[in-house]
């Protein structure tokens, strides 16, 4: 594997995660618990899809086969996607969504903080831009962790269940393979162990502050790096890609 191939693979991982979670959040449109939260979630979804657009556009350029961001988003199937498993998990109730967003937003915050220092100028520039937006997402999600965790008995239970169910998808966020090794050597991407340390510390702090318990699951669900996804991704893509695949050459 050469640097260009590694970069392409890494950019797919980043872009796909943003795209899939952006899509999941967009499913809340019109169904939010209150109007302000409906708007908040779809604004956050928009940020994620925007980030995915920039990253996947760059991925396409890096690959050099003429695929643009739309071709990558709408014409690949499940086995070709590289998004983290946590991003494709269904929304469930609001507490479950908040749990998922909190775990992922915290990860994004520390990951992109490192990516700002990438020796790859384009990636660094996108990271600088996105990190500012991610900071707002994280604030929003953290506040809801406190509100729901330290809320009523019901909100507390629902949020704890969400955290417990999603915990097994978190170890995968910090896995590294030869793609990472190659790019770390070039100073293009960070060592995820550093991101993991920051993530663990912050997550523990917020969970404690929200009067919740740190989940005890030790099972680690993995596979996204090899395109092995949960059954959810197929249904998600079927919806997301339907219009594009039905009218492949449409423009508006």
């Amino acid at each position: 594997m050469n640097i260009q191939e590694a970069k392409f693979e890494y950019l797919l991982r980043l872009g796909d995660s943003s795209l899939i979670i952006g899509h999941r959040l967009s499913e809340w449109c019109g169904h939010g618990p209150i109007l302000e939260e409906d708007i908040a979630l779809i604004n956050i979804a928009l940020d994620f899809v925007g980030n995915a657009t920039s990253i996947l556009a760059y991925a396409g350029q890096t690959e050099g086969n003429g695929r643009d961001e739309d071709a990558l988003a709408y014409l690949r199937s499940e086995r070709e996607f590289r998004n983290l498993l946590i991003t494709e998990q269904p929304n469930g109730d609001y507490a479950n969504t908040i749990a998922r967003q909190f775990l992922f937003d915290t990860y994004m915050f520390f990951l992109y903080e490192e990516l700002k220092n990438s020796k790859d100028e384009t990636l660094a520039a996108i990271a600088v831009k996105s990190h500012k937006e991610i900071t707002y997402h994280l604030r929003h999600t953290t506040e809801w962790m406190y509100r729901l965790g330290d809320g009523t008995a019901e909100s507390h239970e629902r949020l704890q269940n969400g955290l417990n169910d999603l915990w097994m998808f978190t170890p995968e966020m910090f896995d590294m393979d030869e793609v990472d090794a190659l790019l770390i050597k070039e100073g293009i991407v960070p060592d995820l162990n550093k991101v993991k340390a920051s993530w663990e510390k912050r997550v523990k702090e917020v969970i404690a502050e929200a009067t919740l318990k740190l989940p005890e699951t030790t099972f680690k669900q993995k596979g996204s790096r090899e395109g092995k996804h949960s059954e959810h991704l197929g249904f998600l893509l079927a919806e997301m890609q339907y219009v594009h695949r039905s009218f492949p050459d449409s423009k508006w």
């Binding site: 928009l46 925007g50 980030n51 996108i126």
Partner: protein, 167 residues
């Protein structure tokens, strides 16, 4: 096309493009917002360099189309719009004059970015109501009518208002 382009200077093009308003906030234009970064003429091609505000901002496409239309009006059709991410757009690029326009329109303008960032992970900022001037205001949601704005309410005049978020 050649002779038409050489009769326009960069300043004139900037002036022309300052007629393009932000699609959501018509009182400010794309120069006020610091979106338009540069205009270049080279070999019959006019390159417009813009920096996007929020990564997912849907208004950017509209702005791009407006730029093309405006230039077409004066006969410039060979246009390339270049998106540049670095340096990253920041609300610090919004002119003081533009901030006043925002306030007059009923949108609280962004604070200076260093102030806002400290506040982001700490306690609430003190924001003045653009309608009555009171600082008895509270945030309803970090996300308002658009991705770039937050929703606040004034506890004195009771009106809601948008705050242009600091980025």
């Amino acid at each position: 096309m050649d002779f038409i382009m050489t009769t326009y200077s960069k300043d004139q093009i900037f002036n022309l493009l300052s007629e393009i308003p932000d699609p959501e906030i018509p009182v400010i234009n794309i120069i006020d917002l610091g979106i338009l970064r540069d205009v270049k003429f080279e070999n019959n091609l006019c390159t417009i360099v813009i920096t996007p505000t929020y990564t997912g901002c849907p208004a950017m496409k509209v702005i791009e189309d407006d730029i093309r239309c405006k230039l077409k009006e004066i006969g410039i059709e060979n246009i390339k719009v270049e998106l540049v991410f670095s340096p990253a757009w920041t609300t610090d690029w919004i002119s003081e004059e533009a901030k006043e326009k925002l306030r007059a329109y009923g949108i609280a303008p962004p604070d200076h970015s260093t102030v806002d960032k400290k506040v982001l992970l700490g306690k609430a900022r003190e924001l003045k109501c653009p309608l009555c001037g009171s600082i008895h205001t509270e945030m309803i949601s970090q996300f308002g009518s658009t991705a770039c704005k937050a929703l606040y309410r004034c506890l004195d005049c009771k009106e809601p208002f948008d705050y242009f978020k600091c980025l």
